[in-house]
Symmetry: C2
Subunit: 220 residues, 2 copies
């Protein structure tokens, strides 16, 4: 099944916070919404691709793709055959709740269990905004270095899980894993960390289990 991609513009309206409305709607429909946040190139789209592939027999899913420009990411996910809305922010550095609510018009919410939002590639601004998600999920690649939790503390504080991505590149970098865990603990001692390599198919089960459990709990 090849789905058409709907492309929308971001609506920046700081005074119109629709997060509570979204939360209520998701709660009524028993849908889990994940807000995936990471730097450009951290591996957000690959993670979504590999996650959706693993969950598609179990849950009904949809994706909201946030990018400043292009529909590259939406087109990458199109072969998965699930509903996708691509939001182009035209320069804005994050997604806002008003746009998310608008994107819902493109979905049949009664047919969904799990909505993934891939935010604009940015470790800073998206962490500041409540878009009505159940959880912000942080993704940081080993090539970014072990100091990111200290240098961009808000996201690591707000996140309900952290994916350490591209672990297959670890041998070729100076990444200090002990230091990384120390830095994570310093900012958010309770944060679960999943080490993954989507490329080499390493560590995905624990993440998938975690996500399956919380989605299934919402459905009950």
């Amino acid at each position: 099944m090849k789905m058409e991609i709907k492309i929308m513009k971001n609506i920046l309206a700081a005074n119109q916070n629709k997060a509570e409305e979204i939360k209520k709607l998701l709660s009524q429909k028993k849908i889990l919404m994940i807000n995936l946040i990471g730097a450009p190139g951290a591996g957000k789209t690959t993670l979504l691709e590999q996650t959706i592939l693993r969950l598609k027999d179990r849950f009904r899913m949809a994706v909201i793709e946030g990018d400043i420009a292009t529909d590259i990411d939406a087109r990458r996910l199109q072969p998965l055959g699930i509903p996708i809305v691509q939001i182009n922010t035209d320069g804005a550095c994050h997604l806002e709740s008003t746009t998310i609510l608008k994107a819902f018009d493109e979905f049949n919410l009664a047919d969904l269990d799990l909505v993934f939002v891939e935010n604009v590639g940015n470790l800073v601004c998206p962490a500041e905004f409540d878009i009505g998600e159940y959880a912000k999920i942080a993704i940081s690649s080993v090539t970014e270095g072990e100091d990111k939790p200290l240098k961009y503390p808000l996201l690591f504080r707000e996140a309900k899980a952290l994916l350490l991505s591209k672990t297959d590149l670890m041998p070729y970098t100076d990444f200090d894993k002990t230091g990384f865990y120390k830095n994570v603990k310093n900012i958010n001692a309770e944060l679960p960390v999943f080490e993954i390599s989507c490329k080499k198919n390493i560590g995905m089960e624990l993440w998938i289990n975690w996500l399956t459990q919380i989605t299934a709990r919402i459905k009950k």
Copy 2:
């Protein structure tokens, strides 16, 4: 020589654009100011370290480090023995001209040829602000993928040079170099690109030559 690091707070004052004042000052003092912009973990600090090492017999340099939190980067550069000001933005996603002008108070401008500003790790917001720099320099690592120029067009349009960093990791990624150059050309056909690996000491001469030439031109 070990220099003391001065830590400052960012002053966000959108209505007080000091960029023109800074440009005038730099022009009077014949100082070249570079505004280095890239995603978290693109290799900005390592590039500065390796660049300053190579130029320290030729030019008198200083660094303004921008980070949301911590003085990790300033401390990394401290052994170079040049004046460093660390700005902590406390959450703000970019540096502004008012803060840059304030940071100048910590330098003796008469003793400088070249000032490097390492902006907050962010491919989006810093590109929007004129801080009075001579040039914005973009840095993007091969691990971020070849689509970044299309997805974050403003920086690649504004930059006077682009560093493609971490080329030593190319064999371990799916980075499409032909596609990357096509994407760069699409956004900014005139943009000079330097492929570098600071870790493996590859490709640094061309970048250093380029920087030396424009700095020497300013000094004339």
